[in-house]
Amino acid sequence: MEIKGKVHCLYEQSGTFKNEFIKLCIPAEDYDIQNNFGQTDHIIDLFAETKTAYMGGGKYLGFN
């Protein structure tokens, strides 16, 4: 699979996958409501963001 652009990792353990993508030279960011390890790029309510994105809005999951 060819990855164009950035990988967005969501929810628990998203940081682990983000870090491995970056080590493989693929840009990546992670999103979670928690920031237990102080490395989460975007601390957001993913449930609310998903609901909003499905309705046509959303700042992060709108993929605009």
């Binding site: 699979m1 990855i3 628990e12 353990q13 682990t16 996958f17 870090n19 491995e20 993508f21 080590k23 493989l24 237990n36 449930f47 998903t50 609901k51 994105a53 499905y54 959303g58 999951l61 709108g62 993929f63």
Partner: protein, 162 residues
């Protein structure tokens, strides 16, 4: 089991108290299920590749045919790719297809963890952080095997077992 009066979580509750908790559990499950479908909906509308992961060991809602498609990949033993737990795990690929590869990087036996003996969650109904951990080795191997189709030179050529 979690929806039964005989579930361990309710052993100290009256039937009425347990029923209230069961109804809350049913509502929470419904809410999260809708969020999951909405996430799939967003990816479908936009044509964005999406990969969803969920445990596949014990019986649960998604395993009972309650999802839009069956899993694309099921890894029955994550320790073969360097994870801490065996923990069968399913992956659903949307708007993309998994590549096939098998990086054999077995976790040393003394480092394999057991879900039943992992640290408990702070309260019932929540999965403990330790049980949810994925090792960086597993994440890397999963990405190379199923997303990039990338052979990792340090592990040599491997036969695909899927």
């Amino acid at each position: 089991m979690a929806f039964s009066w005989t579930a361990r979580n309710y052993r100290k509750k009256t039937k009425e108290e347990a029923l209230e908790l069961i109804m809350k559990r049913a509502k929470d499950r419904y809410d999260m299920y809708i969020r999951l479908l909405e996430l799939v909906g967003v990816a479908t509308k936009k044509g964005v590749p999406l990969i969803i992961e969920n445990p596949w060991s014990m019986q649960h809602y998604l395993k009972q045919g309650n999802f839009v498609q069956p899993p694309s990949v099921v890894d029955m033993d994550r320790t073969r790719r360097g994870d801490y737990f065996r923990k069968p795990t399913a992956y659903w690929f949307f708007n993309c297809e998994p590549t096939s590869g098998f990086t054999f990087e077995p976790t040393p036996k003394d480092q394999i963890k057991d879900i039943l003996h992992s640290k408990k969650a702070p309260h019932a109904g929540l999965c403990s952080e330790e049980r949810s951990m994925i090792s960086p080795n597993y994440a890397r191997n999963f990405i190379c095997d199923f997303i990039l189709g990338k052979e990792q030179e340090q592990f040599g050529k491997q036969l695909s077992l899927f």
